[in-house]
């Protein structure tokens, strides 16, 4: 299929939907005040903003905070437009209306080359595609925190909601004071008029309700007092005294605790179990068998009066497990199968420019390399958990989730009730990284609660269950091939990759109504390969989509996380093959991509690229765009006892307009450390269906003593905000691998590097 034909067919996900949005008027995302919780003394002005009687602002928070600081950033947008101090914004969990859906995340899933989609330079195909997917996403209204999209998505509607509220409040005050609204001033949430009249927002909230302001103008960036300035996160104090409430901290009267054991073989089942001894143990209530739910492996849960009682009993159950019907999974076999399929199949072409065939036919020399990346677990610090209570036909859920709507839907399905009968509370998330885009553990908790006579049950996985029953980052492999012209320059770049595609599998699990009978090409498989900024005249990037059967999911920065390792390592190889400096080589290929060039140069300059280093140290660089943001990282590396040791990572980022520079720096540090754990140690091996790693001793991560110093430099920008939570991850592995090459002359083409 031609690329364009496919894009258009992908856009019209289903025929019914096409008709649906064809006749529905464009819906405003401001929403009605009735969407917010009715609370005594507070007045809701739209679906986002409620004004309290003391003049403070209550914001409908529709995104989950898993550490990325989104509660702070979104509060800042609202505080800015309303001219209130950040401390005067309180949060209330947003409801289920489609205005809270994530449009930017879906638009971001389109497979457009970023240079064709740059703000102000979008091609017509890009504009049409984004418009259509935007329409669909608005109609679907899927509330998800992922794809580094929260600020990008909220940027217009949230500021618009706050500015509209502000305008209504001003009109109400003007009417009450009988003065023109244009003569009113607002400072720190207090309105004043030169006549001496003053009052805070709370005094005019009732008058403002129902008003439709004549004109709403967003503040000019020159007048911003909050956006772009480092703000202290309001959630930090509660995270220093133990009072922050995560999923596992939910406590309800009479609560029971459940511990899960799933078949150790992925996709396996329970053949038989003997629970007599386990149920006789003190503090044990019952055993509940768990079928496969939303992609989980089947197993059982034991309910007890504490997590410990439940876990001890779960371990005491004697079980015979059975392999999945299709046979046992094995990563060695999968690796071989990937190589076979990569060779045998043509794959789907994600990008084509010029003629690679011609360039290769007339090449002086062909440079080839094979790259690979293993399966990876997420290992959030807070293991999977969910608390559920089912009483009088109503379901109540407390869960750390990135997808509240999907969680609610699976709960309703499992309990056999309408989705309206499910009340869901999103707690703080003890890490997400994409693992909490899954709802398997929600389905399990509901399954258990159904058998607990109205009592609330908190279901918690052990660390071992968490590691051995993840939805893993898929193993991918790639063949890289460059043709060198007679002029000694790179004439063409061909990249062919193979590996499982995540999005269709995730849709099957969580959004079955939208999963089609055949897989659409999935951008996440080729992102980081098809979308390179370099001006190679001839390019061809394709991906062979496989189905190996291992449960796979979105892992922080998704396809970029391994593809950037493939592409930026190979670009480094080309620099070495043509005997050029890695920065100069890249810079020469970025004449048509000035934003990338600026980021590359900023990182090189701040890292003092080319200056002498202590003996035994070397630098490596990598440049990569993901989620709309461009990041370059320079890693300084040495070898200690033969193992790589990263001392310092200098990051430069262009993420468009910055809301909170403090959070940007935090996320650069976070992405670097997360990616370094994966680059050095991360791998999941499966033998006879069983994941071999189980807890931190066998799935090691970077600790403080070996953490590099991370420095962040931001390129000033007035573009719309782009992603921050993930873009620091992709460049890290290639920067470290390139530094190791500079140090040792050895090129490592497989992750992890310290294996």
């Amino acid at each position: 299929m031609k690329r364009r034909t496919w894009i258009l067919s992908a856009l019209g996900a289903t025929g019914a939907l096409v008709v649906g949005w064809g006749v529905t008027p464009v819906r405003s995302r401001l929403g009605d005040g009735a969407l917010m919780l009715p609370t005594e003394g507070d007045v809701a002005l739209n679906g986002w903003i409620k004004v309290a009687s003391d003049g403070s602002i209550i914001l409908a928070m529709h995104r989950s905070d898993m550490g990325q600081g989104i509660h702070t950033a979104l509060s800042m947008l609202v505080a800015e437009e309303l001219d209130v101090p950040l401390a005067r914004v309180r949060l209330e969990q947003a409801g289920a209306d489609s205005i809270y859906g994530n449009v930017a995340m879906f638009v971001g899933s389109l497979p457009f080359h970023p240079l064709d989609a740059e703000e102000g330079k979008k091609t017509s195909t890009v504009r049409v595609g984004e418009w259509m997917v935007g329409k669909i996403a608005r109609e679907l209204g899927i509330n998800a925190t992922g794809g580094s999209s929260s600020v990008a998505d909220a940027w217009q509607p949230l500021r618009q909601a706050a500015a509209t509220a502000r305008a209504s409040l001003l009109e109400a005050a003007a009417a009450q004071w009988k003065v023109p609204a244009s003569e009113l001033k607002v400072q720190a949430g207090v309105l004043s008029h030169r006549s001496g009249k003053t009052g805070h927002y709370g005094e005019f909230a009732k008058g403002a309700a129902g008003l439709t302001p004549a004109s709403v103008v967003l503040k000019d960036r020159a007048t911003w007092t909050l956006i772009g300035k480092p703000a202290l996160r309001p959630d930090v104090p509660s995270k220093t005294n133990g009072s922050a409430q995560f999923g596992i901290d939910v406590r309800q009267p009479g609560m029971l605790f459940a511990s899960v054991r799933q078949a150790p073989m992925l996709g396996g089942t329970v053949q038989s179990l003997d629970s007599k001894a386990a149920l006789a143990m003190p503090g044990v209530v019952k055993l509940v068998e768990l079928p496969s739910i939303a992609g989980s492996t089947a197993g059982f849960a034991v309910v007890g009066k504490t997590t410990w009682h439940a876990k001890q009993a779960a371990l005491a159950v004697e079980v015979k497990w059975a392999q999945r019907a299709q046979g046992a999974l094995d990563t060695e076999k999968i690796k071989a199968d990937l190589a076979t399929q990569l060779k045998a199949e043509s794959g789907f072409t994600f990008y084509e420019k010029g003629s690679v065939e011609k360039a290769e036919a007339t090449a002086n020399r062909i440079i080839e390399a094979k790259y690979s990346a293993p399966y990876l677990a997420h290992a959030t610090m807070e293991p999977m958990n969910c608390t559920a209570q089912i009483k009088d036909g109503k379901v109540e859920i407390w869960v750390p989730t990135q997808v509240p709507g999907m969680a609610r839907a699976v709960a309703a399905k499992v309990a056999g009730v309408d989705v309206e009968s499910v009340t869901l509370h999103v707690t703080l998330l003890g890490g997400g990284f994409g693992r909490r885009l899954e709802v398997d553990f929600v389905g399990q908790a509901v399954q258990v609660a159904m058998q607990c006579e109205g009592k609330p049950v908190q279901l918690i996985w052990s660390r071992e269950e968490d590691t051995t029953h993840d939805f893993y980052r898929p193993m991918h492999v790639a063949d890289m091939r460059a043709a060198m012209g007679a002029d000694g320059k790179v004439a063409s770049l061909r990249i062919k990759s193979a590996g499982d595609t995540i999005t269709p599998r995730w849709m099957e699990r969580g959004l079955p109504a939208l999963a089609g009978p055949i897989d659409m090409p999935d951008k996440t498989a080729s992102e980081g390969l098809f979308d390179l900024p370099y001006g190679f005249a001839n390019q061809h990037m394709s991906h062979v989509a496989t189905r190996m059967g291992v449960p796979i999911g979105f892992w922080r920065s998704v396809g970029h996380s391994h593809n950037a390792f493939f592409s930026e390592s190979f670009v480094d190889e080309l620099a070495a093959q043509t005997k050029q400096d890695p920065v100069a080589f890249r810079a020469a290929l970025l004449t048509e991509a000035p934003r990338y060039l600026a980021v590359l140069q900023l990182a090189a300059e701040k890292a003092k690229w080319g200056s002498p280093l202590p003996s035994g140290h070397a630098r490596g660089i990598a440049l990569h765009e993901s989620f709309g943001s461009i990041v370059a990282e320079v890693a300084e590396v040495s070898l200690q006892d033969g193992k790589p040791r990263v001392h310092r990572v200098v990051c430069a980022i262009d993420c468009g307009t910055v809301v909170n520079p403090n959070t940007v720096a935090q996320q650069m540090e976070s992405g670097v450390i997360f990616a370094l754990s994966a680059a050095l140690y991360g791998k999941i091996d499966i033998k006879e269906g069983e994941v071999q790693q189980s807890n931190f001793p066998t799935y090691p991560v970077v600790m403080l003593a070996h953490a590099p110093v991370v420095e962040t430099y931001i390129v000033p920008s007035e573009r719309s905000p782009a992603g921050v939570g993930e873009p620091a991850v992709p460049p890290l592995a290639p920067a470290v691998a390139n530094a190791l090459f500079a140090l040792t002359g050895q090129r490592q083409r497989a992750l992890p590097l310290a294996a």
């Binding site: 930090v236 995560f246 997590t307 807070e382």
Partner: protein, 157 residues
């Protein structure tokens, strides 16, 4: 069983083999101390036993009967923050925050032992896992707290 938690005497009927972590969390509803790994590898469950940082997920409760148990809930108070808590806020350490109770308790035990720790001391004492990668801010905050504590107690650095 009689336990001394945060200066208060607590009587609880529990299995002596039950790890202290679960006594705190599930019997006493003191949820500030977190569960991360269950094998003393990550440090999310760190509390103080007689002033020493201990991983409560593998500590049978019977082994700490009579000992002075201190948890994150008593590290400071709203009116009187511990120097580390103030430093944690100043350095904006936490991201998701899940590991931070354990981090703070490990850091507090370190400062009690070594009021002015070196980087090497911090490397050795702070073996807690943080998946958000807050390590460099943890280090900076410990140094900051050490400096402020030294300043307020009149000790010159």
């Amino acid at each position: 069983m009689e336990l001394n938690i945060n200066g208060q005497s607590v009587t609880t009927e529990v299995d002596p083999n039950m790890p202290l972590l679960w006594v705190l969390r599930d019997e006493l509803n003191m949820t500030g101390t977190k569960f991360g790994c269950g094998v003393a590898a990550c440090g999310a469950c760190t509390v103080h036993i007689n002033g020493q940082a201990v991983r409560s997920c593998v500590m049978p409760v019977s082994a700490v009967a009579g000992a002075k148990i201190r948890t994150i809930e008593s590290l400071g108070s709203p009116n009187q923050q511990h120097a580390l808590q103030a430093a944690w806020i100043a350095e904006q350490v936490p991201q998701c925050g899940y590991c931070q109770s354990g981090m703070l308790m490990a850091a507090a035990a370190l400062l009690e032992r070594k009021p002015k720790p070196t980087d090497a001391d911090i490397d050795e004492a702070m073996t807690n896992i943080c998946r958000c990668g807050t390590y460099q801010r943890v280090r900076a905050a410990i140094h900051r707290a050490a400096a402020t504590t030294a300043a307020t107690s009149g000790v010159t650095a």
